[in-house]
Amino acid sequence: MAWFRRSQENIQTGGPKKDVPDGMWTKCGGCGEIIHRKQLEQNLFTCYKCNYHFRIGSKVYFEILLDKKTFKEMDKKIRSMDPLNFVDSKKYSQRLDEAVRKTGLMEAVRIGTGEINGLPVVVACMDFAFIGGSMGSVVGEKIARAIDAARLKKHPLIIVSSSGGARMMEGALSLMQLAKSSAKLAQLSDAGVPYISIMTDPTTGGVTASFAMLGDVHIAEPAALIGFAGPRVIKQTIGKDLPKGFQRAEFLLEKGFVDMVVHRKEMKETVSKILTLLQN
């Protein structure tokens, strides 16, 4: 397994390649408008016309949330061991290898410390580009370490989720990461440290059924898909088309499962305001 031998330094980390369009011009997924990359960047990868939020990865999200040059990554070298030697049409070890090569990331989450308007925080951000942001042992362990860091430092925790759910290729071990992250959050909560969960498109399956839904405050990006079962499965179950807006951020706000839907451009100030209120 060559990817084990490759050293960390040779890998371009954090470059979200798939989710953020590479070319100079990009078509908006919401309204079809052709947008220049510069303009997209200025708008934090949202459409100036229809507010469509492009999927972005951890690199951009850390830049959006944190004060310049304050992010310090933790535990970047943790990697999956392919504990089940899982093979479907492809070997899991090969899928991991390809994901690392394709995304320049080591796993589907990055964690670290930083500051928001001068306030020290612990942050974690998932990368959907890495095997659908799926949670296996490494994602679970890194989330657990971020929670531990927040608890020990008594610094607020912020987790930005985007995930298709638990990672099938690690079987029951992936499932146990739901319990693991939730148990760690119970400890954090008992210690009185605030935790803000930010849900971006899409946040589904095991991640929603664990840490994403356990924040003291839940913030969702506009129109983000958030749910337990995927829309396709639900449609199969009920044999009917799903109502418009079903499982979208605004729907969850209406049903009482998120506190607010916040535009990416307002995200940092919103988080900062909440944390300041809670900590003063």
Partner: protein, 316 residues
């Protein structure tokens, strides 16, 4: 009596039926020797088939329609059972049952998924697939157990949390997440037993505890083999391979450091002798409870959180 026959056990069940048939005439005919020979043969057949089951065959046994369910175990193990209903918010979910009762001399809270046995009861039980109110009903009972300082036993047996429209509206994900969060720090002993199907978050939603026991012919994983096949192989036909790949049996999970103890079943599965299995389970539960009760609540919770925190495989 029409028996349910799984494909791989057909030769055994047919031979058993033949012997039963012959016994009816044994008084009039001199066939005792012949019966004995056949009994020996069926014994050998049972040994060879059941002691070396594939993972998919175990999944089939875990879903056997004659397999004992939660309420069967409660009836066989628990005295003075008082069933409680409802989540006090929305409704009473029939896919999760629970209440207080006595296990030996000990009052316990016992909560489990409940499947039905025929079409009617399956519709009533929603095939053992809880809605959010099922998890909230369980949580309400867990809090009662804490209030009255009683240990908790949960029995897991579900094909999954219900993936319906209303389930999403009422926060299926939140309900499961909340239970994982709360169960991890309830200050009373919790023993979790996977008695049949342990499908993903729907099973785990009542599955955080101090000791995790698993029946010999049950399965527990992040996804059912069929669904795994449909996603990763893009076809429903690879369920056997998916079951192998997922490593979802009791002995697999012991190896993965998730399950603490395997509950043995008679050859051919728990339904072959339900009372014997219930007796074994009761004995094991009493033994486990005795050990857990020696721990102080704080230490118990700390150890439980560490137990789950240690789960997973990674390197750095």
């Amino acid at each position: 009596m029409a028996k349910v026959m799984l494909d791989f056990e057909k030769p055994i069940l047919e031979l058993e039926q033949k012997i039963e048939e012959m016994r009816k005439y044994a008084d009039n005919l001199d066939i005792a020797d012949e019966i004995q020979t056949l009994e020996k043969k069926v014994d050998q057949l049972r040994q060879s088939v059941y002691t070396d089951l594939t993972r998919w065959q175990r999944v089939q046994l875990a879903r056997h329609p004659d397999r004992p369910y939660t309420l069967d175990y409660i009836e066989m193990m628990i005295e003075d059972f008082v069933e409680l209903h409802g989540d006090r918010g929305h409704s009473d979910d029939k896919a999760i049952v629970g209440g207080f009762g006595r296990l030996g001399k000990e009052t316990v809270l016992i909560v489990g998924h409940q499947k039905g046995r025929d079409t009617k009861s399956n519709l009533y039980r929603n095939f053992g697939m809880p809605n959010p109110e099922g998890y909230r009903k369980a949580l309400r009972m867990f809090h009662l157990a804490v209030k009255f300082n009683k240990p908790i036993i949960t029995l897991l047996d579900t094909p999954g949390a219900y993936p319906g429209l209303e389930a999403e509206e009422r926060g299926q994900a939140e309900a499961i997440a909340r239970n994982l969060f709360e169960m991890s720090h309830l200050p009373v002993p919790i023993i979790v037993v996977i008695i049949g199907e342990g499908a993903s978050g729907g099973a785990l939603g009542i599955g955080v505890g101090d000791r995790i026991l698993m029946f010999e012919n049950s399965w527990y994983s992040v996804i059912a083999p069929e669904s795994c096949s449909s996603i990763l192989w893009r076809s429903w036909d690879y369920k056997e391979q998916a079951a192998e790949a997922l490593k979802l049996t009791a002995s697999d999970l012991v190896e993965q450091g998730i399950v603490d103890r395997i509950v043995p079943e008679p050859l051919g599965g728990a339904h072959r002798n339900a009372q014997e299995v219930a007796n074994t389970l009761k004995e094991i539960l009493l033994e486990e409870l005795k050990a857990l009760k020696k721990m102080k609540p704080g230490a118990l919770v700390e150890k439980r959180i560490k137990k789950f925190a240690d789960m997973g495989a990674w390197k750095e």
